[in-house]
Amino acid sequence: MKFGQLVIAGLVTGSIYAVFAVCVSVWYRVSNILNLAVGDFAMLGALGVDDLVRVRNWPLPAAIATTLVVVAVFGYLYDRVVLTLATEGRSAQEGIVVTFFFTFALSFFIDGVAKILFGTDVHAAPALWSGRSLSLLSGLRVERAGVLVLACAVICGSMFWLYIRYTLGGKAMEASGENPLGARIVGIDTQSYRRIIFTGTAVLAAVFGIIESPITGYTYLSGATISLTGFIAAAYGGFRQPGRALVAGLVIGITEALLGGYVSAEYGDTVLYAILAALVLAWPRGLGFEPAVGG
């Protein structure tokens, strides 16, 4: 019973990690840039909607739409201006190091702006599907927001899979990641794929922030934690394999919940990161740790 409850909770957080891990690795494939700011867009979504609804009394749909548009425009401009300048005229190797700092800086920048705009308290976007938690078989209960998160993760994941699998555009996106030069030769605009995915993952992150925040609550600093966990899960897929990143995200989420429930709520994260580090040291190839930067 307790076990089942913990697994459900872990599945919900795990699917969040998985979504962010997939976002990080899909974009890395196309751009060779690690996005450390993806979690901050989630925070921006959650706190932005909360601010508009709670403080400024906007209706919820308008608040959500406005927040997502702001995130999209900001993501687009950041890629268009800053990342384009940062990558232009650099070799791939140099580019990785430089752009790493640019997304890192972006993360700090968003946190700083969020602190000014939303303050330092814990807030959450209003629940989209309010009510008591739903009961499953044999007394297991699940938060409605958790169901939404899972449903959203499954829908986004399968849509993305269908896109890659059954459209020429999806294959072109894959090709841009596999071999940018080869992709340009057949007429694929690799730059615009990079831009679409950066903006798309920013919006997706914001959506998940809005849906998930009623469960955990967000502060202006929450983004960094999500980014970090998503980043670790993506690393388990060598940053290039969204499928593995997804599995790693789910496993990390469930392990975290079980450790929190059975070992120690306080040291759960510490134990988890220790286990992850030990796994990487013991079995790097098997976990898909390919030289992400070198290769």
């Binding site: 059954y166 020429l168 894959e174 596999e178 080869g182 340009r184 007429g187 694929i188």
Partner: protein, 227 residues
Amino acid sequence: MNAETPALAVTGLSVAYGAMVAVHDATFALAPGEACALTGPNGNGKSSILMGLAGLVRRRAGDVRIFGTRAPNGDVRWAARHGLTLVPERRQLYPGLSAADNIVLGCYSWTSSLSRARRSAPFGLALDLFPEIGPHLRQPAGTLSGGQQQMVAIMRGLASDPKILAVDEPCLGLAEAVSRRVYDALARIGEAGTTLIVVEEAPKRALAICARRVEVRNGVATGASAS
């Protein structure tokens, strides 16, 4: 402009990498359906001419016209969409994608619909070009042999429905029998009316299928006038 617009007209093309001039003032023209070999020792600018034509490197100077229309400088997509397709050196396939996906992506230059691409005549022609690739279509391109990869690269080029196919060193590192297969296929592509431009260090093979020859030495193209 005379009665027949050349398929490809290159005037005063120069390509440089920093201070290093790779191609100096190359001028030549190909009539539609003509096959031309770019020959000469390695490192003398043959590949740079192709890359300058395809827009993979920016031209320092000069003019490239495809069927009379001036190609914008450094725009690979434009070249691909206007019928000039490059089968590049080292093939530049997508190693993690299946051979079939590699080939069908050639169609990207003229369609964005996967089902239309798969039903199209150019894609069918590409598959027929090398029937021996058939059993390997679902295999990731990176796991194919060098010869098979070269075949897939040419098939991808053909799937783009090229009016001008520019092939860079198609037989580099391949066994003799495979090289023959590759050149047989190029000959068939040429017979079907596609303008061919083949970069080849060893001119013997290329000249068997190419009526024209442009010799490139130290970045200077000679023998450029019509034969």
